[in-house]
């Protein structure tokens, strides 16, 4: 149960309300009893199935009753009663699931029933996308809707580029839409992988690395978002991913392109450090600066370990002692402005928490 306020104590219950809730209980318990009895008796007649629908409209998570409907409808969908009956039945199920989802947009059982309908091959997929877009406008973070969207777009053969545009429009409307940023981490590697084909339902964490032009374009997008609100974590978590992609590019470079890749990464780090510095200068209130400070610390650590690995310290930069001091300062400040995560910052400073993949690991 979520977000329902506690009733006040000490007040006797309003007799009118009590009567109403007793009536509601009597009706509901009778409906439950009738539907579950008929389900046990495997009664698939029209009246029974209508009662089942009534129950699901009120309580969409009762998985057994969705099972009941699927058993009852399997024959109709196979065409046992002709194509018209099948279409009619599909229309009814689509409406019923839509009603149920409006009642409970997080009902696992209802989303699964909807997927089952799509699997029967009788559902127009463009309509599904329209419904999804409507539901996702009501709650852009609903992960059930996102999951279903991935299933439908894959089935409909929608190119990943089109979905990428959709995520871009969501981010432009709201930089804090973490679900949309997440969707990009799945879509972009699909688009830019060597053999980009039609959209896959099963994106994976084991990713191919993207070309540097894409990484840089995305870093620019992050800059826009973080400049608007430097304390918004969505874009910063995405930023960490982009850095790990850039690092992976360098690590996977062929021996003959090693030095170019090294230079590329150094330039990128330099630019991102500069951007963090810019944000820190622009923001007067240090309490809003957790993310640029943390990112700065990670960038510096990465640059230092990269230099150490190359065995060529840049003489223009600070010595190791000064660098260590600078990191210490950054983490000290993080502990001050974000004391909840003190334990993590302490481990990170001691080198015991490696969140940005380290070279040579």
């Amino acid at each position: 149960m979520h977000g329902r306020p506690r009733p006040p104590t000490g007040k006797p219950e309003d007799p009118e309300k009590k009567k109403a809730s007793q009536k509601r209980l009597a009706l509901f318990s009778r409906l439950c009893n009738v539907v579950l009895e008929r389900r046990a008796a495997k009664r698939y007649d029209a009246e029974s199935i209508t009662l089942a629908a009534k129950l699901l409209e009120q309580n969409p998570e009762v998985y057994t009753v969705w099972n009941y409907r699927r058993e009852a409808l399997a024959g109709t969908f196979k065409g046992d009663q002709g194509p018209e009956e099948a279409t009619k039945a599909i229309q009814f199920e689509l409406k019923l699931t839509e009603t149920a989802l409006r009642k409970n947009p997080k009902s696992y059982a209802t989303w699964h029933h909807r997927k089952w309908l799509v699997d029967q091959g009788l559902v127009p997929l463009d309509k599904e996308l329209q419904l999804l877009t409507k539901l996702q406008e009501l709650d852009p973070r609903n992960f059930h809707a996102w999951r279903y969207r991935r299933i439908v777009t894959a089935k409909a053969g929608i190119p990943p580029e089109q979905e990428e545009h959709y995520t871009m429009s969501l981010i432009n409307a709201n930089f804090s839409d973490y679900s949309a940023w997440h969707a990009r981490t799945v879509l972009l590697p699909q688009i830019h992988a060597a053999d980009s084909g039609p959209l896959k339902d099963q994106g994976s964490a084991q990713q191919e690395v993207m070309p540097s032009s894409v990484i840089e374009r995305e870093l620019d997008l992050v800059e826009q978002a973080t400049f608007t609100d430097p304390s918004d974590q969505s874009a910063w978590i995405y930023h960490r991913w982009l850095l790990s992609q850039a690092l992976q590019r360098y690590q996977e470079a062929e021996p003959q392109t090693q030095s170019t890749a090294y230079q590329e990464l150094c330039d990128l780090l330099k630019r991102e450090i500069g951007r963090c510095e810019g944000l820190l200068e622009a923001e007067a209130d240090r309490r809003n600066c957790k993310w640029p400070i943390l990112t700065m610390a990670r960038l510096l650590e990465l640059r230092d370990s990269l230099h150490a690995q190359q065995g060529a310290g840049d003489s223009k930069l600070d010595g190791p002692g000064e660098r260590k001091e600078r990191l210490k300062e950054l983490y000290k400040e993080l502990i001050e402005i974000d004391p909840l995560r003190k334990g993590y910052y302490q481990d990170a400073l001691a080198g015991n928490a490696r969140v940005l993949v380290q070279p040579g690991r």
């Binding site: 977000g3 439950c32 057994t64 089952w116 997440h182 981490t185 339902d201 964490a205 909840l340």
Partner: protein
């Protein structure tokens, strides 16, 4: 961090025990019917909470055992209650309850594992039931169930682990299937599943733990995803995963304990999702379990992987 009122500074053990006891007794409420399809999990939450509170003697374990057995189907799986279809979610809850009641000898273990095995897919994932919904939650149910029954060899543990690992996202969290957004509930099921499968090396521990510790909000409570509200149930989902990964120190435990205590209903007993909301058994269990994981309030210790009292898992698994 908000100040906790005097009346909520301690864990109100007796009030919570009475609340849970009464939850099992009231059969003429709307809630009783509305939650019938997942009562098996409700009983598991209540009974485990009672064990953690040291009040298990208030529960009629013989009657509970008989009721659980009455929910088993011919295929070996258990339903959410007598009138509901078998499902992996409730099969795990049933096995957990029977483990708590010391009654695992009352079921045919091979028959139950046969049911679990029948739901494993060629890619290692598990369907929740014969209707084919795939979700990493079900991978956890399958692994935990078989392990508690001493039948891990009955399923392809390696394939199960590699499927779970394929659901890790770039932020370190896990989704319900590959490519889906990370969610703290899912992170618990995936981390615990990998722990049972002895495959924690498949995940990036620091990255996962960092994403988890970022779930703590100014209130001291934890949320389930970025930019979402804190909620007591994540005291279990996030905390158990951090505990399995050995990184409990990455959050402010004192602040979290205060948040949980402040969600108590000092009049009726029970714990809610957020302060001043209506309590339920689910949040009461997860609040108590979170406090137990942090070693607070003199509670029985809970096992972060199996979500059962340590005394129970030690007996069963000898760990």
């Amino acid at each position: 961090m908000t100040r906790v009122p005097e009346s909520r500074r301690e864990l109100l053990i007796d009030k919570h025990a009475d609340y849970i006891y009464n939850y099992g007794q009231t059969k003429d409420s709307f809630e009783f019917y509305a939650t019938e399809h997942f009562r098996m999990s409700g009983v598991y939450w209540g009974l485990t909470a009672m064990h953690l509170l040291g009040k298990q003697h208030m529960m009629d374990t013989a009657a509970i055992t008989d009721w659980v057995l009455s929910c088993q189907h011919a295929n070996g799986g258990f339903g959410g209650s007598e009138r509901h279809d078998p499902h992996l979610l409730y099969t795990l809850s049933a096995v957990q309850i029977l483990a708590l009641c010391g009654a695992l000898n009352r079921i045919n273990k091979e028959q139950v594992t046969q049911y679990v095995r029948s739901l494993q897919q060629p890619d290692g994932s598990f369907a929740g039931d014969d209707w084919g919904e795939i979700d990493t939650r079900f991978s956890y149910c399958a692994l935990s169930c078989c392990k508690l029954l001493g039948q891990a060899q009955a399923i392809d543990v390696k394939a199960a682990a590699s499927y779970v690992a394929s659901c890790q996202n770039i932020d370190g969290g896990f989704g319900c299937t590959p490519g889906n957004e990370s969610h703290a509930g899912q992170v618990f099921t995936c981390v615990a599943a990998l722990a049972i499968a002895d495959s924690l090396h498949l995940l990036d521990k620091d990255l996962t733990s960092w994403w988890l510790c970022e779930r703590q909000t100014e209130s001291g409570g934890l949320n389930g995803r970025p930019e979402k509200l804190q909620d007591v149930c994540y005291s279990w989902w996030c905390l158990s995963a951090l505990s399995i990964l050995g990184r409990l120190s990455w959050i402010d435990q004192e602040a979290l304990a205060c948040f949980i205590l402040n969600c108590q209903d000092e009049n009726r007993g029970g714990i809610s999702d957020r302060p001043e909301d209506m309590v339920d058994v689910f949040h009461t269990f997860f609040g108590i379990a979170g406090l137990s994981l942090m070693g607070r309030c003199n509670l029985e210790a809970i096992d972060p992987v199996y979500a059962l009292p340590e005394t129970t898992t030690r007996q069963l698994l000898g760990k």
